[in-house]
Each structure stands twice: as structure tokens, then as C-alpha cells.
């Protein structure tokens, strides 16, 4: 028995296998300690619990916050609503104090929120939000957004959504869910291969790559109606669509010229034009948020690397210089960095690099990592990771740290796409 215990303990405490190939980026980032309290009339205890839990989960999962255990609080919410004793919050190390009062007006739940900085003895913001009937999760996400923005200066992303692909046998479904995994639903069923879904800037449509009759095509999928429209079905490859930030174009990789090149589809005139001209593979376009550049993968110097092309004059610059296999660029919505997948011998890593090619950071390794996708505020990254034949979608802060699976181990999940 003792041996078994020791064996078990050894298993648990074995350090994770060290990545031989990649130096994982170590950030000095520390989350803000948050004290979070909700008050509500006694007959609203369910709503109170829901708002409390959803906001706490949102802010903790962002890794920008770490909520403090309410057992450590020296003051209760009733007292705090009347008077904030800043010293009591400083003692327990609360960087941010957020208090919320709920009340019902008709069918609508109303939240009155104050956010304080105990170390500066200061009210940072006060706001009131009202939920549409039966949208209490949405209200909670909106509260989390405001607390997040007040404390960090960066907009929150908690009302955003995630699409991913689930393969079953030879077919694939398109799955939709809230960013916290709630409200999960299958919005497209039984595609024959489904790759590279990408949200339109207004989040109403999805560009995707599927196969019909064993031929690849590009389609726009309307999320509200389920309607599908083909916009690219050339000879050869039709792949990797990505909307421009203004929604005017969709960039994609086509091979009808005899070689895979980036092309631009004008969503208004419905005409295509060729953007890259190089005998190498050029694929996986991703737009800079100002719409002036496209980063892409090319093997024009022998191995796949990330390049970027200026759309106005076709000027091409190489972005990645380290490692022999860098693919799948995804340009951050903040514009400063590009996420990518690096492969060195047997290992993969999710990495980010400055848009000018500097400061390459490997964030996570082990497993077959693919398809990085940024949160709309550029603070988090989704990716898929396959370990022992099981693919799941994971999330990690853009500054690195611990990855967290957001899909279960039982069902396949790949090609995550975060809404705008």
C-alpha cells in the first residue's frame, strides 16, 4: 500500500516533460487581486449567484485577475455599500474592489456596480447595466467587461463567441459557443472536411473551406439563417479564407494559376485578384488590423516561414528568421504581434513575434499545436492541440503561462476561431 502511494505521489509530482527544442517565454506578469461582491434582494438569490459566478469565472479565466476568497474579507457588502473602508481591503491585498447591487425592474435585471482602487483610496468607475429579459449571462459578461476595462484600460472580451470544428468519422460539424463555453450549439452539420472558419467583422457570417464532391471550395456561411454561398471554387486549391478588418475583402490561398498564391476576393464586386506572385507556396493570409498588410506562410526561401506583404505596393518582408518551420500566422487585433506555430524536429510550439519580426516568444509546447486565434482584445489566444490522437481547443494568455482546455477530452475539436 505504501509503495502504491509513493508510486502515485511520484506520478503526480513528476515535473512536466521539459521541452528540448523551445525556450518557453517566462513572463513576470502578475494578475490583479480582485475582491468581488454581489448584493441582491432575498428573492433574487439565483440571479445573484449566477452574476457572481459568471463574472468571477470570466475575470479569473482572463488571468488578468485573481479573485480573493470571500472568507478573507474583513467587511461585508452591506457595510461596503454604505462606506468603503479602504484600509480593510489593502490589508487583504485587494488591488481592485468591485461591488454590485442587483435589483429587478419589471422583467429586467439591473446591476449597479462600483469599482475601487483600495491602494489609491479611489473610486475608479461607477456604472449601471440592465439585462434584456432572460439574458442574465450577457449582463454578467457586460459587468465583467467593464470591471476588466476599468482595471486594465483594455476592453474586455467576455461577450464574444467561439467557433470550432468537430470531426466525426469523415464528416465535420461547426460548433458555436460563448467564450466561457456556455450556450454550446451545432450550427453546421456534416460537412465533408471543414477547415479554417473565420468570422466576418460583424460576427454574422463565417468564411470557411469545405469539400463538395471531393473538390475544395470556399463558402460564406450565414450564422443566423444557416445559408451557404460558394464564393471560390477554382481548379485546384481553394483554402484559408480570412476577412479583411473592414469586411470589404476576403483573402484566401488559390492554386488555379498552377501554384498556391494569396488572392483577394472583393465582397462587393465579387471579383478576385491575385496578390502574391512567387513560384513558392504562399498560404494562410492574415490581415493587420489597419488592413494595410497581410502576413502569410511561404516557403520561398526553402522552408515555410512567415512573411508580410504591403497591399498597396506588393512590398514583401520576411517576419520569422528563427527555426526552420514556422506557419499559421494570426495577426493580433492590437496589431503589435503575430501568433504562429513553430515546429522543430518532433515538437510544436505556439509562439508570438513582433510584427516586424523581433522578440519571438514561445508560449506553449508539447502536442501537435495548430490554428492560433486571438481574443478580440488581443490578450488571449486559442489554439488546437492534439495529444495521443485527441484534439482539443485550449486557451492561453498572450503573455504565456498555463494553458487551459476549453473543450472536453471526449470529442474532437479543432480550428478554433474567436469572434470579433
Amino acid at each position: 500500500m505504501r509503495f502504491l502511494l509513493i508510486a502515485l505521489l511520484t506520478l503526480f509530482f513528476m515535473p512536466p516533460v521539459q521541452a528540448a527544442e523551445f525556450d518557453i517565454y517566462q513572463s513576470g506578469f502578475k494578475p490583479l487581486h480582485l475582491a468581488w461582491m454581489v448584493a441582491a434582494p432575498t428573492d433574487e438569490s439565483d440571479a445573484k449567484q449566477l452574476i457572481h459566478d459568471v463574472v468571477r469565472h470570466d475575470l479569473n479565466s482572463s488571468r488578468s485577475f485573481s479573485t480573493l476568497d470571500p472568507l478573507s474579507f474583513l467587511d461585508n457588502i452591506e457595510g461596503t455599500l454604505k462606506h468603503v473602508e479602504y484600509a480593510d481591503w489593502r490589508i487583504i491585498g485587494a488591488d481592485i474592489l468591485a461591488v454590485c447591487q442587483l435589483k429587478r425592474s419589471g422583467k429586467r435585471l439591473q446591476a449597479q456596480v462600483q469599482v475601487y482602487d483600495p491602494f489609491r483610496s479611489k473610486l475608479l468607475s461607477r456604472f449601471q447595466l440592465t439585462a434584456a429579459p432572460k439574458s442574465e449571462r450577457t449582463l454578467a459578461h457586460a459587468i465583467a467587461n467593464r470591471i476588466y476595462q476599468t482595471a486594465t484600460g483594455i476592453p474586455g472580451y467576455f461577450n464574444s463567441h467561439i467557433l470550432y470544428v468537430r470531426k466525426h468519422g469523415d464528416l465535420a460539424d461547426l460548433i458555436y459557443m460563448d467564450q466561457d463555453g456556455a450556450n454550446k450549439q451545432t450550427v453546421g452539420r456534416n460537412f465533408t472536411l471543414l477547415l479554417s472558419p473565420d468570422w466576418s467583422p460583424n460576427n454574422q457570417r463565417v468564411a470557411l473551406n469545405t469539400y463538395v464532391g471531393d473538390r475544395p471550395r470556399l463558402e460564406i456561411f450565414d450564422l443566423a439563417t444557416g445559408r451557404r454561398r460558394t464564393f471560390g471554387a477554382f481548379k485546384g486549391l481553394n483554402s484559408t479564407p480570412e476577412w479583411s478588418p473592414d469586411g470589404h475583402f476576403i483573402a484566401a490561398a488559390l492554386s488555379y494559376t498552377g501554384n498556391t498564391e494569396i488572392h483577394l476576393y472583393n465582397t462587393r464586386t465579387k471579383k478576385w485578384r491575385q496578390l502574391t506572385h512567387n513560384p513558392a507556396i504562399d498560404t494562410t493570409p492574415t490581415w493587420s488590423p489597419d488592413g494595410k498588410w497581410i502576413a502569410f506562410t511561404s516557403d520561398r526561401n526553402g522552408t515555410p516561414q512567415i512573411y508580410r506583404i504591403r497591399i498597396s505596393d506588393g512590398e514583401v518582408q520576411r517576419v520569422t528568421h528563427s527555426g526552420s518551420y514556422n506557419t499559421s500566422p494570426s495577426w493580433s487585433p492590437r496589431g503589435d504581434r503575430i501568433a504562429l506555430i513553430a515546429r522543430k524536429s518532433w515538437e510544436y510550439a505556439l509562439a508570438t513575434v513582433r510584427a516586424d519580426g523581433g522578440d519571438l516568444r514561445y508560449l506553449v509546447t508539447t502536442g501537435h499545436i495548430e490554428s492560433p486565434s486571438w481574443s478580440p482584445n488581443g490578450q488571449m489566444l486559442l489554439f488546437s492541440r492534439e495529444v495521443k490522437g485527441v484534439r482539443r481547443v485550449y486557451r492561453i494568455p498572450s503573455w504565456g503561462g498555463r494553458m487551459e482546455a476549453i473543450t472536453g477530452p471526449g470529442k474532437d475539436a479543432s480550428d478554433p476561431a474567436w469572434s470579433h
Binding site: 472536411l193 477547415l195 479554417s196 469539400y211 471531393d214 473538390r215 475544395p216 481548379k235 485546384g236 486549391l237 483554402s239 484559408t240 490561398a253 492554386s255 498552377g258 501554384n259 498556391t260 507556396i281 498560404t283 494562410t284 506562410t297 516557403d299 522552408t303 515555410p304 518551420y325 506557419t327 499559421s328 506555430i341 515546429r343 501537435h368 495548430e370 490554428s371 479543432s414
Partner: protein
């Protein structure tokens, strides 16, 4: 007349991977190219029994099918080695003898690397085969190409023996 699809081809490839591959492929080609079509018809028949190549070749109405319809590639490469060229020569001969037939070349990759980049790599493999066949005199308009990237592996495991089978282009009639 479909010599489509490959459970048998996969098994053949298992036998033929690595060092064995080149010799194995050459042997088949010698068999097809040195002899007339009728000979080949009678030996590998209508495909009910596996030939040495293992390809379930369905024989044909006019002339024989080449005994292998798959060529294999090195990692991140679309270059055709001599074994691949021999197989394609046999296929080109069959195509020229059967001018009514149309084919598709399906490019595939192993699971390593990015799925999206592999789509383009599979296409380049298919295009490379197409270009070769056209150089051998096959009408380009009879040849369609498609890439499945790493989405349709013949061998679902990992390791080089498996990956070698998945880095391939298949010639199928459509």
C-alpha cells in the same frame, strides 16, 4: 473501370516503405512496361486477387491499368524520385492508350506540420505529378488535381513507416 481507393495500396506501401520501396516499385513497373497490355491483363486480371503491388487494379476494357497509382514523397517535398517517375511513366502510357479516360491526382501529406500549409503542399505534389504526366504527353485537360493535405491519411498511426505512406499522390479515375 475505377481503380479507385486504396486499402490494398496502403498495405502494399507498408511492404514497400523505406529501403524496400524503390526496388519494389521498380519491379512492378518492369512488369507492366516490358510486356504488352494483354500480358498484364492476364496476370493481374480484374483485380479480384492482390498482385505483388497490392493495388486493386480493376483491369480495364482497353489496355491494362498501370500496377501502381500512388507515388511517394520526402517530408515537405514534392520532388519525384526515380521510383515515382517509373510509376508515372506506366500511368502515362496507360492514359495515352486510353484517351477517353479522365483522372484526378489527389495530393496528400503526413500529419506533421500545419494542416493548412499541408493543403498547399498536397496541391503542389498533385501539380508536380500532373506536370510530369503532361511532359510524358498526356493531355493536361484530362487531369484534375485536388489536395486533401493531411486530412485523409491511408495510415492513421504515427512514425515514419506510417508517414511515408501518407506523403503521396494517388491517381484515380473520376
Amino acid at each position: 473501370m475505377n481503380y479507385k481507393k486504396y486499402s490494398m495500396a496502403g498495405m502494399a506501401a507498408i511492404l514497400c516503405t523505406g529501403l524496400l520501396f524503390a526496388g519494389c516499385a521498380k519491379k512492378e513497373v518492369a512488369m507492366t512496361s516490358s510486356n504488352g497490355s494483354q500480358q498484364q491483363m492476364s496476370t493481374s486480371g480484374n483485380g479480384t486477387s492482390a498482385s505483388t503491388s497490392g493495388v486493386n487494379s480493376s483491369g480495364g476494357v482497353n489496355g491494362e491499368a498501370a500496377s501502381s497509382h500512388s507515388v511517394y514523397f520526402a517530408f515537405d517535398s514534392s520532388a519525384l524520385d526515380t521510383a515515382a517517375q517509373s510509376i508515372l511513366n506506366a500511368n502515362a502510357a496507360w492514359l495515352k492508350a486510353n484517351p477517353g479516360k479522365r483522372i484526378a491526382i489527389e495530393g496528400n501529406c503526413d500529419e506533421r506540420g500545419s494542416r493548412e500549409y499541408n493543403l498547399a503542399l498536397g496541391q503542389r505534389r498533385a501539380d508536380s505529378v500532373r506536370t510530369y504526366l503532361v511532359k510524358q504527353g498526356v493531355d493536361a485537360n484530362r487531369i484534375d488535381t485536388v489536395s486533401f493535405g493531411e486530412e485523409r491519411p491511408v495510415c492513421k498511426g504515427t512514425g515514419e513507416a506510417c508517414w511515408a505512406q501518407n506523403r503521396r499522390a494517388d491517381i484515380v479515375t473520376r
